[in-house]
Point group: C2
Chain length 246, copies 2
Amino acid sequence: MDNNIENIENNVVKSVEKNDTSKKTYEAIIDSIKTDIMNGKIKPGQKLPPERELAKKFNVSRTSIREALRTLEILGVIKSVQGSGNYITGDVEKSLIESMSMMFLLQQIDSLEFFQFREALELKAAMLAVQNIDDEKIKKLEELVAKMGESEDEATRSALDKQLHDTIAAASKNSIIIQILNILSEVISQDIKERRSEILSDPKNAKRLQRIHEEMVYSLKQRDARATYTAFSKHFDLIAEYIRTS
Amino acid sequence: MDNNIENIENNVVKSVEKNDTSKKTYEAIIDSIKTDIMNGKIKPGQKLPPERELAKKFNVSRTSIREALRTLEILGVIKSVQGSGNYITGDVEKSLIESMSMMFLLQQIDSLEFFQFREALELKAAMLAVQNIDDEKIKKLEELVAKMGESEDEATRSALDKQLHDTIAAASKNSIIIQILNILSEVISQDIKERRSEILSDPKNAKRLQRIHEEMVYSLKQRDARATYTAFSKHFDLIAEYIRTS
DNA sequence: CACCCAAAATTGGTCATACCAATTATACGG
DNA sequence: CCGTATAATTGGTATGACCAATTTTGGGTG
């Protein structure tokens, strides 16, 4: 292991020593590690010093160090591996999933609001895709829509639908939007999932959706921003219509 | 204190006892508390049993309980008050701010990407505002724009600008979008802030922006969705133009 | 009786130490 | 030189103790 971090900032240590601002010890530790990340002293992939060593450096107990490390782990900043060490990671997605789930759990977010949030990102992704998508991806989208048209099974169509949306999101080339959309897929309330499959199990709606999908892909192929916006809006209206009447 | 939680699920306790799925103890505890929240057994405002009692109930050490509580605190699920107890809160916003800051810190997110993400939400907020905004809010927007037109000072204009955007966001009536936009304001990279004020200190740009703001508010007043979309798009293009050439 | 205040009990915050469990490093034997 | 058994390292958990803030209790006082 040659990627150890040898020297945690000593001036930061100082601020921890006296618990200056009535901050909890573990919070001070977190701040100091965050600072080191910001300053580039700590980078993803690196291993932190052993907990016992950190405890000595910060002049606190291992308990406090561990509480700090736990929260950093939840935030997706580090990953603890028993017997090996604590490693810096860039895997914040998991943490965002946790936070957002909690947000929806605790705040009783309305399904429609959730849906609108998602719509905002998908629409933007589509508009960016208009500018960035290449012919290969267009071809893939066309294939997906075709398959969806042929498929009789709702579950299959649903899986293809997800692929379709993922592909479009990817074409946006905006990694934040891609990530947040991924997260939303994870967090999506069971409520909406059920309602969605309910809506689409009606052949009439499925057919309507199929036409809209074709329109979406066609407008992307034409690189027509306005048509893309219209097509995607229709798509959401179809779903939102039903959510609203629940 | 009559809002104590008397009985943490016993079946959940069982799953913790034997550390069944190679999960860390504290993770199992978190899951069980989350489950209780989902089932409505635990609601915001309530106080959890004392740590020592939880430790007994879960058959684990207080250490493990505390590690679980720390992460729940970071997630914004609970708040620990020394001498009093651990209380359920719904304050997840702080946690989202933490997560997103970390995401941007660790992933070196492009300023443009960040800006596009924000744009997605502001655009949607505007489109929802078209449907939901009332005359009173319209009046407020008009006043803000007027003040901005008169103001000579860049800092003042910037503050008014923030108010303008906040008001529009509020008019969307979508609490997720409002919250995330708030979070983004907190997290926004210094980079963008500086660039923004740099752009707007040029009187020519400030004047352009002023016209666009007027257009935005006017189209909202007319409840004209298409015009609103166009006006807001222009607004973002003005900023994005400069971010791109940085 | 109602109110206020000091003492006691409760409860989270931190520490020190010990031991377990998984991983990694080392040393030995082929 | 390689592979394997053993030792050392390192995170995970458990106890028990004590500190610090809050809450509760029980008098004492008006």
